[in-house]
């Protein structure tokens, strides 16, 4: 065991030496990473505090350097702004103290200055709790943690010896070493604030600082009043509620910047409720989760949508009625291998509330898909039916009708003539049925001819149809294209005041691209999609395609893309 004198000697040397080295580290780091000049005050304040622990600056410089640090760290700006005032006041007081060679600190009011400084730590709490960058939040957490630890050390020394830095050797050594946590944390804050997550350390420190004094106080008071043993009983009874209260306070202080599960859920549900047509439900859910626990990104995957996001990490399954709908993958924070229980709670709460919305989104997607398949199958069926009627039943009936006519000619029987007339009637009926199934020109002469036929009218509008022949298309697609082009050209006739319109048809591997462009007056900027546009979009959606008016074009231009296969 080294004796007390050696310990005191060591405590005189170690903190200044460590602080000096750390100050050099901060300066060297600031130069190495080329910190912007406007942020210089941030790290300079750290250096000043560290130098205050060494003989370079008088010890009482602390009364100015600490307020400066908590006001301007880490970005060099005073936050909140008006903190310039107390910091300036501290500068005046500190200068006076130094110039008067310690006389001012003899004044009874001076102890108020020391205590008041701790209140300024609220500036860092303010920074921490207001929305700021992740890096700034992390840096600030270090400062708060370091300050609290140092204060805790002083408090422990005071509690143990009744004095700070005077009298017993333990008090002297403890008081001198107490500055080390702050010094180390300040360097951590400057050099690599996100390297280590100090969340839990901060949470634990806050919890201990809240709970221990209360329980110790209770012990002392109750023990004093009711005699030995009563204090221990009081602590036993009070420990659980005090701990719970302490944890809530620590939560509020440390996690307040992150929304609670309830707030995060409310926010997500509001965004889901207000979402526009183009917004994807999975993307909103992902964004809600990453915002709620302050992550830079994440990924969400599901069977009915393309994965959203890029970063991955821990997987959270989003289940609905026992079925896994989607998986949310969230990256851990730097230096962590898992999420805190609180983070998990928040994400799980979001998952529970997102599941019905995701389920609805999937159901809609599946419905649209199944509708496309039904429409595609229906049109193929109608095309086949029409072909059967047109190519086989029609000629058969016509042939029978001619045979009956031949019979009537040869025999002169009135029944044969009647038979001929009846069959002619049936021929006409089958023709009507066939016309009702599909526009005949579409299957007899193809889409281009059908469009020419549909868009011709006795007026001056010149309709050009440009196509890559031959267009071999599914029945649903060529019918949708014909209907859409017919509608679009009739819109041109009604509104565009155009002299010509060009319809172009192009097929690639999986899509039919249709463009209807005119040289007319174009869409008025404030035009609302009329009934024509609405039915065009609906016809396109029915086969899984899209239809958009291009506002940048001269005249009016409609771009339609129809997939050749139902998805």
């Amino acid at each position: 065991m080294p004796d007390a004198a050696a310990l005191i000697r060591a405590s005189e040397i170690v903190p200044p030496a460590v602080s000096l080295v750390l100050a050099l580290v901060v300066v060297g780091h600031a130069i190495a990473v080329r910190r912007p000049a406007r942020e210089a005050l941030g790290w300079v304040s750290v250096v000043l505090v560290l130098l205050g622990f060494t003989p370079v600056l008088p010890a009482s410089a602390w009364f100015f350097t600490f307020p400066l640090l908590v006001s301007v760290f880490p970005d060099g700006r005073f936050v909140p702004r008006w903190f310039v005032v107390p910091v300036a006041a501290c500068f005046v007081l500190t200068t006076g103290e130094i110039l008067s060679d310690g006389a001012w600190s003899e004044h009874p009011l001076w102890s108020g200055v020391g205590a008041g400084q701790m209140v300024l730590l609220l500036a860092q709490v303010h920074r921490y709790r207001r929305r700021s960058t992740t890096r700034e939040r992390q840096a600030v957490r270090w400062v708060i943690l370091g300050t609290l630890l140092t204060v805790a050390c002083f408090a422990a020394v005071a509690a143990a010896y009744g004095t700070i830095g005077e009298g017993p050797a333990g008090s002297v050594v403890g008081a001198r070493l107490a500055v080390l946590p702050l010094a180390v944390c300040l360097v951590g804050a400057v050099v690599n604030p996100v390297g280590l997550d100090v969340d839990r350390a901060l949470h634990a420190t806050v919890l201990v600082l809240l709970v221990v004094p209360v329980l110790a106080g209770a012990y002392a008071v109750v023990d004093g009043w009711h005699g030995p043993g009563a204090g221990a009983a009081a602590v036993g009874v009070g420990a659980v509620p005090v701990l719970a209260l302490g944890r809530r306070l620590a939560d509020w202080l440390v996690y307040r910047g992150r929304p609670s599960a309830g707030t995060a859920v409310t926010d997500m549900l509001r965004r889901l409720g207000e979402r526009a047509d183009g917004d994807s439900v999975p993307a909103i859910v992902l964004d809600a989760a990453t915002r709620a626990i302050h992550l830079d990104g994440g990924t969400i995957t599901g069977s009915w949508f393309e994965p959203v996001g890029d970063l991955t990490g821990s997987d959270f399954a989003l289940t609905y009625r026992g079925e896994r709908l989607a998986v949310l993958s969230l990256p851990h924070r730097r230096g962590e291998t898992t999420f805190t229980a609180r983070d998990r709670r928040v994400v799980e709460a979001l998952g529970v509330h997102a599941a019905p919305a995701l389920h609805g989104d999937r159901a809609l997607a599946e419905l649209a898909e199944s509708r496309q398949r039904v429409v595609a199958a229906r049109e193929e069926e109608r095309r086949r039916l029409r072909r059967d009627l047109h190519d086989h039943l029609g000629p058969t009936l016509s042939g029978l009708s001619l045979s009956a006519a031949a019979l009537a000619r040869r025999t002169g029987l009135p029944e044969a003539t009647e038979l001929h007339e009846d069959i002619k009637e049936v021929v006409a009926q089958s023709r009507e049925i066939s016309y009702g199934l599909r526009p005949p020109v579409l299957d007899d002469h193809g889409l281009v001819a059908a469009i020419r036929h549909r868009t011709s009218a006795h007026d001056d509008l010149e309709v050009r149809v440009v196509a890559t022949d031959p267009l071999v298309l599914p029945a649903a697609v060529d019918l949708a294209a014909l209907t859409i082009v017919g509608e679009a050209v009739s819109n041109v006739r009604r509104h565009a005041e155009a002299s010509s319109v060009e319809v172009s048809l192009r097929v690639d591997a999986d899509h039919l691209h249709v463009t209807v462009a005119d040289d007319g007056v174009g869409l008025p900027p404030d035009v609302r999609p009329g009934i024509g546009m609405h039915s065009i979009a609906e016809r396109a959606a029915e086969v899984g395609g899209t239809a958009r008016y291009d506002r940048t074009a001269a005249g009016t231009r409609l771009d339609v893309v129809l997939p050749l296969e139902a998805s």
């Binding site: 058969t396 016509s398 042939g399 045979s403 031949a406 007899d444």
Partner: protein, 204 residues
Amino acid sequence: MSRLVVVDDHPVFRKGLVALVRAAGHEVVGEAADGREAVAVVATTEPDVVLMDLSMPEQDGFEATAHITAAHPSTRVVVITLFDDEPSVVRALDAGARGYVSKQADPEQILGAIHAVVSGAQWLGAGVGRPAPVGRTAERLPGLTRRELDVADLVSRGLSNGQIADRLVLSRKTVANYVSAVLLKLGVDTREEAAAVVREARRD
């Protein structure tokens, strides 16, 4: 009475057609179910008239018609088809067909067509799309829109603006606008001059 070959890929229709023309007193010297077979049958039988379907497997009716009318100038082809649109009519006539009847036509139409082509006439059945009279003129009068060509054609036939308006179901004022456009585009001052230009274009 005439010697006929009946060409159709549909057996029941072919049977009915054969029965009809036989009942009318014609002689059916051959039948074929596609264009290639038709060419062969016609080569061996040298009929007066071929009743020709258009849509058939192997070789379609247009090709077979073109071949037959070229190889056997004395054989007349009557197209009997489901297609009744104008482009098909034009194609068939270009291929050398002399008659064109819809499959839905009355038996008398079919027999009438046979009678007509045998006697050297051309027959386009009722309900069959007729090539527009301006079709060929259009190529020789470039720059005129389709509607202006319609108007120019009717002007060249001596119709007044009022008559043209009735005929095309337009207002008289609209017709007057079209006429001014036609005069401008043809580079002439009066409708008489315009009529002469259009008639000239139609002639050759």
